[in-house]
Amino acid sequence: VIGALEGEASPAAKRRGDPTRGRLLPWALVAPAVLVILLIGLFPLLHTAVVSFQSISLIEEDTSFAGLANYARLLEDARLWEALGRTLLLTAVALPIELVLGLAMALLFLDRLPGRAVFVTLLVLPVVISPVVAGATWRLLFDNRYGPINQMVGWLVGRETTILWVVDPAFVYPAILIAEVWQWTPFMFLLLLAALSEVDGSQLEAARIDGAGFRQTLTAVMLPAIAPVIAIACLIRGLDLFRTFDVVWALTKGGPGTMTETISIYAYVQGFQQFETSYAAAIAFLVIVLLTVLVMMALRRVEIAR
């Protein structure tokens, strides 16, 4: 089969001939990867679809079909919609903060600066460490008695503080937000810095000659030039935020009570702590549908922006 690809033909003829010759080889190369993805991705997904119409749980191995019972239950599950709303809220709050902070940092490091490469290398650290380690680290920092955050807050307000960061309902959201923003602002920073470095120097020069100030240059030249990168960075981070699990789990395990459950944590609790197999399958499908809609909306936005 492979030998059939060779011939006496000139390179140009080969170029034309490539896609039509040796039909088998291209598919043979793709097949193993696609098979593994289908085995682990598609087959179990179809199985889940079936399960979501049954009523299987730890105590009930009932494989008879229950129609839309699990989906009807979704509608009445206040805890689910709270988790979903909370997840969307976290995304809506964290994403703009990360974007603006990341952009500010990128502008700070854009021009020549002594030790610039060292700074950038160090700022990569939060992005590459495990989110579980990030969550655990912030739990050490936020400890009400032995952590340095309360100590520093104490210095600022001038008296001892003992804020219960990951327990007190008033502080647990800020605590999660701080950990999240800490880990992923450098992601925005790195992407935006790379994009800004590519902005056409002659355009910047032209803006300078026209007497444009820093703000005008930023809004009229730089931001339009890096808009596609901003869109992609927001898409990647938005999807990541929507599925947030690790950091929150390491910080609060969804507590106090169910106060910080994200949609991923709630699905985990239903499937693997309450063992509501069929119901968790229905939640999984709800998430897939919602995410597909969100991604399609986001992609349309990205296209319009271009």
Partner: protein, 274 residues
């Protein structure tokens, strides 16, 4: 645009040091805590610099056998990276050079990447229960391979498309087969892309928590799952949390350090060349 010297530069330098300091402080705290004695960990007010850099917290991890989880992570992340790179690069070459599957195949592949882990792991758990693969090394390896494949194919397709076709055509004219061309011409030219992609694949599997949490019990505990075990209802094993976190982050820092130039391209799914 901005003045490059004098006061402006000094102010920017101060801002740069401050920002970097703020972002590094948590890492510093974790690192220092891993060397503290119990008295220093539970000191009030907190100790910012320990008396001595003693290694007892690390020694305990070895004595109690907790480091086995690092070994599990190495095995699982390493094996799945090799498998995903092998299968993924083959597929990527086919898609890049023969447009196999048209536009649909690459798009379908990347859309796989967008599903939340919890949605993927739930059906896989049911499958693995049926197969008896829960809490096995090969179970995790197969899952990580499958999950990483779309990423590897997507990234390697980009790297291979950048290689001039003329290089391959010259070899084909000389009588080499397509597979020989792939192994002897394409892979050597794309080696930095291969390395960078492999590093990100490894880092993903290494850092993963949710798959390992669901699909392992006690035999194949990976390092992130082990870290969460140290959090108790009443008390936390602070020393172990810190030492284990540092130990588990070292391999990541080493491999990422090696491909820093490709970092931006790797984390932006190839959208930003960096």
């Amino acid at each position: 645009m901005k003045p490059d010297r004098g006061l402006g530069l000094v102010l920017r330098l101060i801002a740069a040091v401050t920002v970097t300091g703020i972002f590094l402080f948590p890492v510093y705290w974790l690192f220092v805590m891993s060397f503290k004695t119990p008295d220093e960990i539970f000191a009030y007010p907190p100790v910012w610099w320990p008396e001595s850099l003693q290694l007892a917290n690390y020694a305990v991890l070895f004595r109690d056998g907790d480091v086995v989880t690092i070994g599990n992570s190495l095995l699982v992340a390493g094996a799945s990276t090799l498998a995903a790179m092998l299968l993924g690069t083959m597929a990527a070459y086919s898609i890049a050079r023969f447009k196999t599957g048209g536009d649909h195949l690459p798009l379908w592949l990347i859309s796989n990447r967008m599903l939340p882990s919890i949605v993927i792991v739930f059906p896989v758990f049911l499958l693995y229960v049926a197969l008896g693969w829960v809490d096995t090394h090969h179970g995790l390896i197969v899952l990580y391979t499958a999950f990483s494949l779309p990423y590897v194919i997507w990234m390697m397709r980009g790297y291979i498309q950048e290689i001039p076709r003329e290089l391959e055509e010259a070899a084909l004219v000389d009588g080499a087969s397509r597979l020989q061309v792939l192994v002897r011409v394409v892979l050597p030219v794309a080696r930095t892309g291969l390395l960078a992609t492999a590093v990100f694949t490894f880092v993903f599997a290494w850092n993963d928590f949710i798959f390992a949490l669901v699909l392992t019990r006690s035999a194949v505990t990976t390092f992130p799952v082990q870290v969460t075990h140290y959090f108790g209802g009443q008390s936390n094993f602070w020393a172990k949390i810190a030492a284990m976190s540092v130990l588990g982050s070292l391999p990541i820092l080493l491999v990422v350090g090696a491909i820093q130039r490709y970092l931006v391209r790797g984390i932006s799914l190839g959208a930003v060349k960096g």
